[in-house]
Symmetry: C2
Subunit: 223 residues, 2 copies
């Protein structure tokens, strides 16, 4: 049973490494985001669009987490930004140690924004602090509006929720208001953005959200 694997001792040891990671990125004023969702909700596609839109104004890098394959890293690399692939080899989430072991692969003095794409999974990733500033989650409208109730830990932990694939709303039975209401019931301060990575709808709001978080990080950890 995996709950044995996430006992208090293990989480405490992970959290200690996460704190070190956070200190390391703070000392360089880098904003770090942990991107989480179910498989196929559109994380990598969102990062491809984000790299194109933000990659000129901010020095951006990506850590790709997957059980196996480096397909996602290859997709990101085509957009001209530094990317590192972490394969968990069976584990269902990234942990702080894996991130620490790869932070040195980047020139941290040359970064403004680091996005970590977690393993596609609505359960385990939410429990592991990687040293990020914010957790952001994607929920595709094809997954159903019952997901906040069923996976409350992740919805509670997220700073922002991106409701993706809104271009498919006419073709699925997804109650946007209900999903937003039950997400906010778990997380009063949750920012919710409706987007379609495919059509580009709503992505300007996402870029603005990201820009505010980057600028805020740079002000606080003034270089």
């Amino acid at each position: 049973m995996h709950e044995i694997g996430v006992g208090a001792g293990l989480l405490a040891s992970n959290d200690a490494v996460a704190r070190e990671n956070r200190q390391a990125v703070n000392s360089h004023g880098i904003y770090v985001l942990n991107l989480m969702s179910a498989p196929g909700a559109g994380k990598t596609s969102l990062l491809e669009r984000t790299a194109d839109a933000m990659g000129q104004r901010y020095r951006m890098a990506v850590i790709e987490g997957d059980v196996q394959t480096r397909e996602d890293a290859d997709r990101i690399a085509r957009h001209g930004i530094p990317v590192v692939q972490i394969n968990t080899g069976g584990a269902c989430h990234l942990d702080a140690r894996q991130v620490r072991d790869h932070l040195g692969d980047f020139d941290l003095g040359e970064l403004d924004l680091l996005i970590i794409e977690n393993v596609g999974n609505l359960v385990c990733p939410a429990e592991f602090d990687l040293g990020e500033h914010d957790k952001v989650m994607l929920l595709s409208v094809t997954e159903g509006h019952d997901k906040p109730q069923k996976y409350p830990v992740m919805f509670h932990a997220a700073r922002a929720l991106l409701l993706n694939k809104i271009d498919l709303l006419p073709h699925v039975d997804f109650d946007v208001e209900l999903a937003e209401r039950s997400s906010r019931a778990l997380n009063l301060d949750l920012d919710i953005l409706r987007i379609s990575v495919r059509t580009g709808d709503g992505l300007q709001s996402w870029y603005q959200w990201l820009e505010q978080r980057i600028e805020r990080t740079q002000r606080i950890h003034a270089r």
Copy 2:
């Protein structure tokens, strides 16, 4: 890291209980299926349709696995078949012990078919034998055709793959042939059915598949 939780000892102990479960259902000639997918791929909706279509001809029951809530069990119960909800309380998959502890909730002498709906997750559930005869997985076409490569353990373990939400194919970028080819590359004997739980498309083939498996189980474990 959760891989600590799925070490050889833990899996061996799980497998021993799974064997007991299998003996128990075999002695009653019950066919048991472990249904797995990412969150929101349509497992519960498929079971609702299956209960309506098969519930008269076969004595069917369902075990619902979720991190929390008994929403899915309530949905199934409305279709007039026995259902038990297991909440894993944080764990990202069911294990054989949880199934064993609830097998007694049913009158096993009065069942032909037991379907266990696992926690929505493409990683962990594939590693844990529950005592089922077959694993069946749902992949929604909205999740992308790269999923077989990225989650090979589950595709390898499945007896059948149901490609769901094919009514959305005109609206998404999903290469059905590619998905089927890469699934079969992992699993030569995989049965693949294209379905839409929403429109009912392809469900007759699913009911026939299920019927053959039930009949086969009854012949082998003749009562």
